[in-house]
């Protein structure tokens, strides 16, 4: 992980140096540094960006998302309350390239960036706990739902994930405030599923392979977020 981080920041530094050496650097009057806050599918967080060149931008952001909700699902013969929790926390380093740098491209396209980068997830856990919603009848016997047990599934990914996407940067809101928007995705490692269960549901832990198979494709973590920044 350390090597990947060092590599990422090395690439970032090289691009910054390259960009600053190009002839068409932004004029000294234009603000080059911005900082702001954002909110979106990967939670809320803060970000900072540095305009290296009129086509290149470097950014650093951190986000945290504590999601959780409970839904009732029928899994097999019985209904279960499935309590899902997800905790995502990352630090993201980005390089943005502006494909429409020409002033004639229009105000909207002129703020569009193609972003690439890498994120280090310091928190990346998803879990689901299924508990029976109703008492269970076995013959003439009623077994209380509290005594039936629960099924837990924990999903983990590796901490490093590359990122790619589109961004609108610097849509003016007046004064030095600007509006930013991002649409992209992380490419995660293959998720690892671990299931546990207890009491009369204990044997359902054997369904780990089925859940693992269902989640094997969960490698794209989409990002849609908006934010406000201040240009210094």
């Amino acid at each position: 992980m350390k090597q990947l981080l060092i590599l990422s920041f090395s690439v970032l530094s090289a691009v910054m140096v390259y960009a600053q050496n190009e002839n068409d650097t932004p004029s000294g009057r234009e603000p080059r540094f911005s900082a702001g806050v954002h909110i979106g599918t990967q939670g809320f967080g803060v970000s900072a960006a540095y305009q290296l060149h009129h086509r290149w931008m470097a950014g650093l952001a951190t986000s945290y998302a504590p999601y959780g909700y409970t839904a009732t699902r029928t899994l097999g013969k019985n209904k279960y309350d499935v309590k899902m929790k997800e905790q995502l926390g990352n630090v993201q380093a980005l390089i943005g390239w502006k494909p429409f740098a020409n002033a004639r491209s229009g105000r909207f396209l002129n703020t569009l960036y193609i972003n690439g980068g890498v994120a280090v997830f310091y928190k990346q856990e998803a879990s689901a706990t299924a508990t029976p919603r109703e008492d269970y009848q076995y013959g003439d016997i009623i077994i209380k739902k509290e005594d039936l047990g629960k099924v837990d599934a924990q999903v983990k990914w590796k901490n490093i994930a590359p990122y790619g996407g589109l961004a609108l940067r610097g849509l003016s809101l007046g004064r030095r405030f600007v509006f930013n928007a991002d649409l992209g995705t992380y490419y995660l490692s293959k998720p690892e599923v671990h299931m546990t269960a207890d009491n009369l549901l204990s044997e359902n832990a054997a369904q780990e392979a089925a859940v693992q198979k269902n989640l094997d494709g969960y490698r794209w973590l989409p990002v849609l977020q908006v934010g406000v920044a201040y240009n210094f």
């Binding site: 097999g76 016997i141 005594d147």
Partner: protein
């Protein structure tokens, strides 16, 4: 904007749209994480189970026996399907404790299981469930009243009564001893005796049927048929000092029963004379020596109407014609025992079985028998238990006598695996017993894994009921226990890959046979309807099995 710039702009817009669509596509292409996820409640809902293996002394099936569960905790007992219908199926009676009830040694459950069947003496079996053994196994043998054996003499005879329903003269009925035994019994009914039913009403008629049974009290099989259902150790024996647990040491026994014109007789207007000829090898616990003339023995009785052994009277041993006899009178028909009572321990004897050859998940059906000790040798079999043993298995025996006992362990073929003298079975300590390697378990370790796939389901069922698996060599008779199959898995060294076997699986009221099967070291099978894919439905009644599978899958919502 020149043409080249326009083309570049269009290309960049196309690329961006493509990226956008790719991101959206990735999001919607994800599989539902709950796809094919079926959470099932285990069918093994019971935490405490008693499985009674019910058989007849004549070897006949007792699947038509009538079962009645009584006692203070009877309402907490269910069958394997959670119902209140009790039936012997495939020779087994499955009794399960309501899983909502917490059972412990401090709060045990006590029930009484009454089993009755045509031509058999009914059995009343007190069952104490302490939770020490999650799946307790007990063997119950009902005495067939029409069929003698080498272990038991049976005599059924008719006596014609006078028109007033009484014998015109004294009637003597004698039962000769079983083969190889000196034990026998004689009854004499005085002239003029009236016969009464359970409500103490005089029964009229002339066709008196007299039935006598004399078991060999020195035989090991006595413990299985001993009235009370707990072997010679009894949880309650009534004496002049009250009721307490104890061990009955019989020197002679006889069961006496009558019917008059089809009505069961329980007592008489006059006492009848009984004589029991004793086992001359009986060691009198009162003297520590073989029984002899002049010894005082106690006479106990046991009636199925009130299933508890009671002290009736004392009797002096007499020598008549070279045979040791006790003579006494009684005004009721029942089981009679001449012998002695030994008080019981207040603590259980806890036993831990250790065996290097039962490690790594291998199990073996082990029978543990507790004998009385006479001059340092194993004497009477007091009680026995069977366990599917692995290294470290524990079991306990309650109500053992306050006297040295000898504990022996046997494998599936009856080979002795251990013999341990326990000088004080009352001290409450844990007795560790090392089991010698069983000669019947010298085969390679055989693993059996059963899977089940419901029709129209891609995934196999992950939850299977715990069931008992029995085996016999194909073509032979008499199943033996392989062990308890948990979640479809069992590992054993009992089976020889060079032989073919018949298997019987018993789960509650469901019994399935699979015959003529050769085992391999690794035996994995999936029950399902895809025969082309190698799935099985059993070798007998495949269509019925498929319907059963569909029904059970439907019940499980699969």
């Amino acid at each position: 904007m020149n043409f080249k710039t326009q083309i570049m702009t269009k290309n960049r817009i196309s690329f961006i749209l493509l990226m956008f669509l790719a991101v959206v596509g990735m999001i919607v292409a994800c599989t539902n994480p709950f796809k094919d996820l079926e959470i099932s409640v285990s069918s093994n809902v019971f935490k405490n189970v008693v499985n009674l293996e019910v058989s007849s002394s004549a070897g006949a099936s007792l699947d038509n026996a009538t079962i009645v569960i009584t006692g203070p905790d009877a309402e907490k007992i269910y069958n394997a399907e959670g119902k209140k219908v009790f039936k012997v199926t495939g020779g087994f009676l499955f009794l399960a404790v309501d899983p909502n009830v917490v059972v412990s040694e401090q709060a045990p459950l006590n029930i009484n299981v009454a089993i009755s069947a045509a031509n058999h003496l009914g059995a009343q079996i007190p069952v104490k469930i302490t939770g020490a053994e999650k799946i307790a196994m007990r063997k119950v043998v009902l005495l067939n009243t029409t069929s003698a054996s080498s272990e038991m003499a049976v005599k059924n005879t008719s006596v014609s009564l006078a028109p007033n329903g009484t014998p015109a003269a004294d009637v003597t009925v004698n039962i000769p001893p079983p083969a190889g035994s000196a034990e026998s019994a004689t009854i004499t009914i005085p002239a003029g005796t009236q016969f009464r039913d359970a409500n103490n009403n005089v029964v009229s008629g002339t066709d008196l049927k007299v039935s006598l049974i004399v078991p060999k009290t020195g035989s090991e099989s006595l413990a299985e048929v001993f009235p009370g259902g707990t072997g010679l150790t009894q949880p309650a024996i009534q004496t002049a000092n009250g009721t307490s647990a104890g061990t009955l040491m019989p020197g002679g026994m006889s069961e006496v029963s009558f019917t008059l014109n089809g009505t069961a007789i329980t007592n008489f207007s006059k006492p009848i004379d009984l004589g029991i000829i004793l086992d001359p090898d009986f060691v009198n616990p009162g003297t520590g020596q073989k029984v002899k003339a002049g010894d005082k023995l106690s006479i106990f009785s046991f009636s199925s109407n009130n299933p508890i052994w009671k002290l009736e009277q004392e009797a002096t041993v007499q020598s008549l014609g070279g045979k040791l006899t006790v003579n006494f009178t009684s005004s009721h028909a029942t089981w009679f025992l001449a012998g002695n009572l030994v008080e019981s321990c207040s603590n259980d004897l806890k036993i831990k079985l250790m065996a290097d050859w039962l490690k790594n998940g291998v199990t073996h059906p082990v029978t543990v028998k507790v004998y009385s000790s006479a001059q340092g040798n194993a004497d009477k079999l007091l009680v026995q238990k069977s366990v599917t043993a692995s290294d470290g298995s524990e079991l306990s025996f309650d109500y053992l006598p306050q006297a040295p006992v000898i504990v022996k362990s046997f494998d599936a073929d009856g080979n002795t695996l251990s013999e341990t003298t326990v000088t004080n079975p009352c001290n409450g300590g844990l007795q560790t017993i090392s089991l010698a390697a069983s000669p019947a378990a010298g085969n390679p370790k055989t693993t059996m894994q059963l899977y089940v796939r419901c029709p129209n389901q891609a995934q196999r069922v992950t939850i299977l009921p715990t069931f008992y698996l029995y085996y016999k060599i194909h073509g032979q008779t008499g199943y033996k226990l392989v062990g308890i199959v948990t979640n479809g898995y069992i590992s054993t060294t009992l089976l020889d890959p060079a032989k073919k076997y018949d298997f019987r699986a018993v789960w509650g009221a469901t019994v399935k046979d699979v015959n003529d099967v050769a085992v391999k070291v690794d035996n994995t099978a999936t029950v399902g309807d895809n025969a082309a894919g190698g799935e099985i439905l059993g070798t007998k009644a495949g269509a019925t099995n498929l319907e059963l599978l569909k029904e059970k899958c439907k019940e499980a919502g699969l």
